[in-house]
């Protein structure tokens, strides 16, 4: 194996890993704050990317406006998911299984809506820095991918601060860990759950505008992203935002290195074997224990 090939596989693994991690981050945020596995997370990214495309490409408005409105669209959708789907289900004593099924149905509905109004074509959303590439030992990485890594890391740090240092962040955690106890302290548990879903939506929208320039926007991309993001979040620990990113990077790197050292045909076998081994040794995921303790 040449140095270039090794470097290229590491760069590809990092890029893919942060893509998985960003989706996993949204899943972790929602699970941490509401104990709901949101199967719509990839579709929140789809909504964010579609809105960004319509603003920045179809209407020709500034890219930054497209990105910002894409993120906001994710947040608004997260808010609506709680109000229109989660809250009515919870009122009828829905369980975790019901929430999963409801959001899974929502994912298909979003995909079908995008198909109806946006069509089945693939769309390219321009990235930060256009298609500019950075050369590393003759291997190449898109400038946009570097921004994706930097922004994702920044968001994880911001979330860490939010949950540890702000009253609202701690209230969201309290409402999730012990809803009845939180009620006795005057915390509006329902509102905290709404805010958690909206926060998850914002992270989903951000994932959409950052991931779309790398993979193209297409109506079916949501569920595929959710599956990989879910694997990343499980690996890192479902309650840990940092763990989701870390899990995504581990998954991405293992897949890429399996391609160049073993065979592309065994990429998933190697990655899933690792996932099983970690789950057996650490059932809470790599950082799940810390996440459940609020760290």
């Amino acid at each position: 194996m040449t140095l270039t090939l090794l470097v290229q596989s590491v760069l590809a693994g990092l890029t893919n890993g942060f893509v998985y991690g960003l989706i996993g981050l949204g899943i972790a945020v929602v699970f941490r704050g509401a104990r709901i596995i949101n199967a719509m997370q990839g579709d929140l990214a789809l909504i964010g990317s579609v809105v960004a495309y319509l603003i920045a490409v179809s209407l020709g408005l500034p890219m930054i406006l497209g990105f910002l409105l894409g993120v906001v669209a994710g947040g608004v959708t997260g808010f609506l998911v709680d109000r229109l789907m989660i809250r009515p289900t919870a009122k009828r004593r829905g369980t975790e299984d019901s929430f999963l099924l409801v959001t899974l149905g929502g994912a298909f509905a979003v995909s079908a809506t995008v198909l109806l109004y946006f069509g089945r074509d693939s769309y390219v959303l321009p990235g930060i820095g256009g298609n500019a590439m950075v050369d590393v030992f003759d291997a190449a990485m898109r400038v946009h991918a570097i921004w994706l890594i930097v922004i994702s890391t920044g968001v994880v740090l911001a979330l860490r601060w939010f949950y540890a240092k702000t009253a609202i962040g701690q209230a969201m955690l309290a409402a999730s860990i012990d809803p009845e106890g939180a009620l006795t302290l005057g915390i509006n548990v329902g509102w905290m759950r709404t805010m958690t879903l909206a926060l998850g939506g914002l992270v989903g929208g951000l994932a959409g505008v950052l991931v779309a320039p790398l993979i193209n926007i297409q109506y079916e991309m949501g569920l595929l992203l959710t599956l990989k993001g879910f694997a990343a979040a499980i690996l890192g620990g479902l309650t840990s935002p940092f763990g989701a990113i870390f899990g995504g990077v581990i998954l991405g790197l293992v897949e890429a290195l399996a391609v160049v050292t073993i065979s592309s045909g065994y990429k998933d076998v190697v990655a899933m074997t690792l996932l099983i081994a970690i789950m057996i040794a650490m059932p809470q995921g790599l950082f799940g224990r810390r996440g459940r303790l609020g760290g």
Partner: protein, 376 residues
Amino acid sequence: MLRAGLGTLALAGATIMSPMAQAQGATGEPLKIGAIISLTGPGAGLGNPQRQGMLLAEKTINAAGGVNGRPIRILIEDDGSKPDIAKSKAERLMYDEKVSAIIGPSLTASTGAVAAITNAEGLPTLCFTGLGPRIELTYKSLFHLLPAQDLNAKAMLEYSTKELKAKKIGILHDTGYGQVVTNQLNVHRQAYGVEFVAIEKFEVGASDVSAQAAKVRAASPDVVFVIATSAVPFRNARQVKIEQPIVSAIGSSTYDYVRGFGEYADNIIYPEFVVGEQPKDNQKAFVEAFQKEYGSLPKNFEAAAWDSVHIIAKAAAKAGPKAGSKDLAAAMRGSYPGVMATYDFAKDDMTGIELSSYVFSKLVKGKFERLSFTTK
């Protein structure tokens, strides 16, 4: 000029329409044709162009008098890209609607499910897939509008070895369509005297395949085959600095995919049948009519769909109004000079498309250009 061209395309009226019918338009009892295509699900990229081609053919034939005065009526059903749904739609069309023939399905698995029941009734079925499982060779009423992957593989190797003089080829393919074509490439590799220096695969829908692309690049091939139904591998191949010519397969030659390539839609070669930008003489009237109807250029699947309706119309005119399903199927067995290709449904592979029907195109800055290379 367009009207004259369309008149010619509607099989010159001679075989389908009586002179009286041409003058009066189609007014008799409709000739019902069922169509099962994938308008949703993973095969939607195929089903939607096929729908456009069929509807244009229906409109054109009916405007010119139909089949001996009988208008054609196409009943289109969406199988959602699922074989079980395709089968139940076929049953409805056969037993409730009593259609004379079925067009479709769009996908190989659905074709197997539908053909098993239409063959039992002898109902003519013109599918938009190449020859699939061997059992299809025993079916007497199943006809294929697209070549087998074996022929697609040969076409790719023809161009790569004869025009590009390649000896070492790298392959980047997905685990669906790409795997099927790659299997056939392996069958013909030795006959063309080439070595596959790297064969890398990735799952359908993968978001990034740069590690696989980098491995192909590291093997220093003369030409790279990218065979997939997604834009991602094409983009990644160029991003990791694969500068060699890329030869792809017909399945990713649609405008949908090409739009997804973005600025990388350049120097990619396709063996296919219809280049809308520079059609062959026998394709010009169809391309013009399609562009007028839909405001866009057609490609292979639209042309195959157009041909399918005309093939049934011609056979129905030949078999006569009292013909049963088996008579109609018998009338189809023979040569038919279509817009997409020249078919011969009497051949063993039930399509009869020859390698010489292929044209070769090259993407230049997002536009297809027809190449002078032929396999003749």
